[in-house]
C-alpha cells in the first residue's frame, strides 16, 4: 500500500531486540528438540532433526541481523507518534470481548465491543453507533445461527 513508496522505517533498536529474541527462540527450539529424540524407532531420521536444523539456521540468521544493525546509518528518523491510546483501548476491548464471548454470548459481547470501538475511533454520533453495532451483532448471529445452522454462543441464561 502506501508504505511501499520507499519510506525508510528501519529502526536500529527494534532490529537489535528482534535479533536477540530470534536468537533465543532458535536456541530454545534446539534445546527443547533434544528432549524429544527418544522415540524414533526404525529410522535414524527422527522428529528432532528438522527443528534442530531450523534452530541452527535461525541462530545464524539472527547473528547476521545483529551484525547488519551495526551498519545502519546513525540517525533515526523522527516519525509522527503512533496513536497508542486509541489502539490500546481497542485492543483491551478486543481481549475482553474474546474472553467473555463464551460466557456472555455472541450478541451482547459483539454489540459492546463495537460500541466501544466506534466511540474510541471517533466520539459522538451515538444513535448511528448503536444502530450499526446492533445491526451487525444481531445480523451476524441471525444469519449464522438461524439461516446457516452454524453454532455460536447464544445468550446467558
Amino acid at each position: 500500500m502506501k508504505r511501499i513508496m520507499g519510506v525508510d522505517k528501519v529502526s536500529k533498536t527494534f532490529d537489535r531486540y528482534a535479533g536477540i529474541i530470534f536468537l533465543l527462540i532458535g536456541a530454545l527450539f534446539i534445546v527443547e528438540s533434544r528432549k524429544i529424540s527418544a522415540s524414533s524407532y526404525g529410522s535414524n531420521v527422527g522428529p528432532d532433526i528438522f527443528p534442530i536444523a531450523l534452530g541452527i539456521v535461525l541462530i545464524l540468521l539472527s547473528i547476521r541481523l545483529l551484525f547488519e544493525t551495526f551498519k545502519y546509518s546513525g540517525k533515526e528518523k523522527k516519525k509522527s507518534k503512533p496513536d497508542y491510546k486509541r489502539f490500546l483501548i481497542i485492543l483491551a476491548a478486543a481481549v475482553l470481548y474474546v474472553n467473555l464471548l463464551e460466557s456472555l454470548g455472541y450478541v451482547i459481547t459483539t454489540f459492546l465491543f463495537l460500541m466501544v470501538s466506534f466511540q474510541v475511533m471517533e466520539r459522538g454520533g451515538w444513535l448511528k453507533t448503536i444502530m450499526i453495532a446492533a445491526a451487525f451483532s444481531f445480523g451476524v448471529y441471525y444469519l449464522f445461527v438461524e439461516v446457516l445452522q452454524g453454532s455460536l454462543p447464544g445468550f446467558p441464561i
Partner: protein, 508 residues
C-alpha cells in the same frame, strides 16, 4: 483433446447454480476488498475462508471444496480489479499491485478521463484473465505429469526453491525475510508429529496438539495487522474522490491500449508463474517495458492510457499465472496462493500433481469458474464503477472495528475456542510490528503451510537413503532446484551490493 473434455466437465461444475452464485459473490466481495483501503487480497481471502466453510457445510467434501475455492479465487482476482479503482480516483492504491496504475491513472482522472481509465483497466484485466486461463488449461496437464515423476528428494528441493524465491523478493532485507521463513517452518513443527506420533513443543497444552491453526495466524498477521496499523498511524485521512465522468473509452483509447493490454497480459502471466514474483512485480515490469517500447515515452506519467492498460492487465495475468504452480505442483508462489492452498487442505484436498487426477471436479471447476468470474467482473465493473467509487467513502471509524469483529467471528466459527482468538489478537499485534519494521509476513505464512510437507518429504527422502544427506545433491533434478533456489537469494543480494535498486514484491 482430453483437456477440452476436462474443461467441459469443469464448466458443468462451474455452471451449477450454487457455484455461479459463489463465483458472483466472490468477485463482488473481491472488488470491494480491492477498493477498500485497509484490506488487501490476502486478508480478504483469509477472512472469507471461515464464512465459506460454514456456507458449504451441507455439501459433500469435494463439492464443498470446489464451491469454496471458486469463491475464494474470485475474491483474489476480483481484488486485482478493484485495486485499480482507488489508484485512479484517489491516487491511493488499494493494493500494492496497483501502485503504478496511479501514476497515469490519476493524471487521467484529473483530466476528466477517469471513466475511460477505469473501463480500460477493466477490459485489460478481462483480457489478461482470459489469456492466463488459456495458459492454465494448456499447461496444467504437462506440468502435473512432470511433477508426478518427482520423488521426495525432488519435492523437498522444489519446496525449498519456492520458499527461497518468496524470501528473496519479499522485503527490503533478505535476512529478515529468511528469518520470517525459518520462524514459519519452526512454528509448523508445533503439534503432534505425523510421522512418529510424538508431540513436539506442546507442553501438555491440549490446544497445541493439532498445531497452530494456519487460518488464525494468517487472519491475525494480515487482516488484524493491517487494521492495527491504520488505527495506530492515523492513516485514514480522506482524499478527494475524482468524478468518474464518461465511462466508455473512445476508439482512440482502445487503439492505444490494445497492444499494451496484450503485452501486459503475457508478461504478467509468465511473471505470475514464477514463484515469489507476483502481481506487484508484474505491474512494475510491464509499466517499465511499455514506457521503453512507447513511441512517446514523454506521455507516461502525464495520463497515457497505455500506462493504465499495461500494469492492470499484468497484475491480473499474474494472479492467473500464480495458480499454475499451486494447482499443478502444490507449491504456492505467494502469500495469497498460500492461503488458497491452506483452504484446500482444510477440505482434505491436497493441491499438487494428483489434484487433476483425484479431484478433477475441483481443479477444472476452478479453472472454468475463473473464466465465468472474469466475464462477471467485466459485466459488473463497467456499469457499477460509480457504485464502487462510493464504497471508497466508507468511513474508517466504522470499517476498522467491523473488520476486527469479522476476524473474531470468522476464527471462532471454525475453531470454537478462546485460545485461537487470543492467538489471533497476538498475531495481529505481531503483524503490525513486523510490517512496520520491514519483516515481511507473507514468507512466514507460506512456510507455515509448506512446513509439514517439507519435513515429510525430507524425512522420506532421508529414510530411503539411510540418512545420507547427499541424496539431495546426487539427484540431478533436486540439485537443479537447489541451485536455482540459491541463485534466487544470491542475485538480489548481489544486485544490492552493486548498488542497484531491487524491485520487491509486497502484498497487502
Amino acid at each position: 483433446m482430453e483437456t477440452i473434455q476436462f474443461l467441459i466437465n469443469g464448466f458443468s461444475v462451474a455452471l451449477q447454480w450454487q457455484n455461479l452464485l459463489f463465483a458472483f459473490f466472490g468477485v463482488l466481495i473481491g472488488t470491494a476488498v480491492g477498493v477498500l483501503p485497509g484490506i488487501g487480497p490476502m486478508s480478504g481471502v483469509a477472512l472469507l475462508i471461515p464464512i465459506t466453510a460454514t456456507l458449504t457445510s451441507g455439501l459433500d467434501a469435494e463439492s464443498a471444496a470446489a464451491s469454496s475455492i471458486i469463491l475464494l479465487a474470485g475474491v483474489y482476482y476480483g481484488a486485482m480489479y478493484g485495486g485499480s479503482t482507488t489508484s485512479i480516483l484517489l491516487n491511493t492504491p488499494g493494493e500494492s499491485s496497483s501502485v503504478v496504475t496511479a501514476l497515469d491513472g490519476y493524471q487521467m482522472a484529473k483530466q476528466g478521463r477517469a471513466g475511460a481509465a477505469l473501463s480500460i483497466a477493466a477490459i485489460g484485466s478481462f483480457v489478461a484473465g482470459i489469456i492466463s486461463l488459456l495458459g492454465l488449461a494448456l499447461l496444467a496437464e504437462p506440468l502435473s505429469a512432470l511433477a508426478l515423476s518427482f520423488g521426495p528428494a525432488e519435492y523437498f528441493s522444489l519446496m525449498l526453491l519456492g520458499l527461497c524465491a518468496v524470501s528473496g523478493l519479499a522485503g527490503k532485507s533478505i535476512t529478515k525475510a529468511l528469518i520470517m521463513t525459518v520462524m514459519g517452518l519452526l512454528l509448523a513443527t508445533i503439534g503432534v508429529d505425523n510421522v512418529s506420533g510424538v508431540s513436539r513443543f506442546t507442553y501438555n497444552f491440549p490446544n497445541l496438539y493439532s498445531g497452530l491453526e494456519f487460518l488464525t495466524v494468517a487472519v491475525g498477521l494480515f487482516a488484524l495487522g493491517e487494521v492495527f496499523r491504520t488505527i495506530l498511524d492515523r492513516d485514514n485521512e480522506e482524499g478527494q474522490v475524482s468524478k468518474v465522468g464518461r465511462i466508455l473509452p473512445t476508439k482512440q483509447d482502445l487503439k492505444d491500449s490494445s497492444t499494451p493490454i496484450l503485452r501486459g497480459s503475457l508478461l504478467g502471466f509468465f511473471i505470475g508463474v514464477l514463484p515469489g514474483a507476483g502481481a506487484t512485480l508484474a505491474s512494475f515490469f510491464s509499466y517499465i517495458a511499455e514506457k521503453k517500447l512507447s513511441k512517446h515515452p514523454g506521455k507516461f506519467g502525464k495520463g497515457a492510457i497505455a500506462g493504465v492498460a499495461a500494469p492492470e492487465s499484468a497484475n491480473n495475468g499474474a494472479s492467473g499465472g500464480a495458480m499454475i504452480p499451486l494447482l499443478t505442483m502444490g507449491i504456492p508462489g505467494s502469500g495469497t496462493t498460500a492461503i488458497l492452498m491452506g483452504a484446500l487442505i482444510m477440505y482434505n484436498i491436497q493441491p499438487g500433481p494428483l489434484l487433476f487426477e483425484d479431484h478433477p471436479q475441483v481443479a477444472w471447476g476452478l479453472i472454468a469458474s475463473m473464466f465465468i468470474g472474469n466475464v462477471m467482473l467485466l459485466a459488473l465493473n463497467m456499469p457499477l464503477v460509480k457504485v464502487f467509487a462510493k464504497v471508497i467513502e466508507t468511513p474508517a471509524k466504522y470499517l476498522l472495528p467491523i473488520i476486527i469483529a469479522i476476524s473474531i467471528f470468522g476464527v471462532y466459527a471454525v475453531q470454537f475456542n478462546t485460545f485461537d482468538l487470543m492467538l489471533l489478537l497476538a498475531c495481529g499485534v505481531l503483524g503490525y510490528y513486523f510490517t512496520k519494521y520491514d519483516y515481511p509476513v507473507a514468507p512466514l505464512v507460506l512456510a507455515l503451510v509448506l512446513g509439514p510437507m517439507i519435513e515429510n518429504n525430507m524425512r522420506r527422502a532421508l529414510t530411503a537413503s539411510d540418512g545420507e544427506f547427499s541424496i539431495f545433491v546426487t539427484s540431478p533434478v533436486s540439485l537443479l532446484f537447489l541451485i536455482i533456489g540459491a541463485l534466487w537469494i544470491c542475485i538480489p543480494l548481489f544486485l544490492k551490493w552493486k548498488g542497484r535498486e531491487v524491485v520487491i514484491n509486497e502484498e497487502g
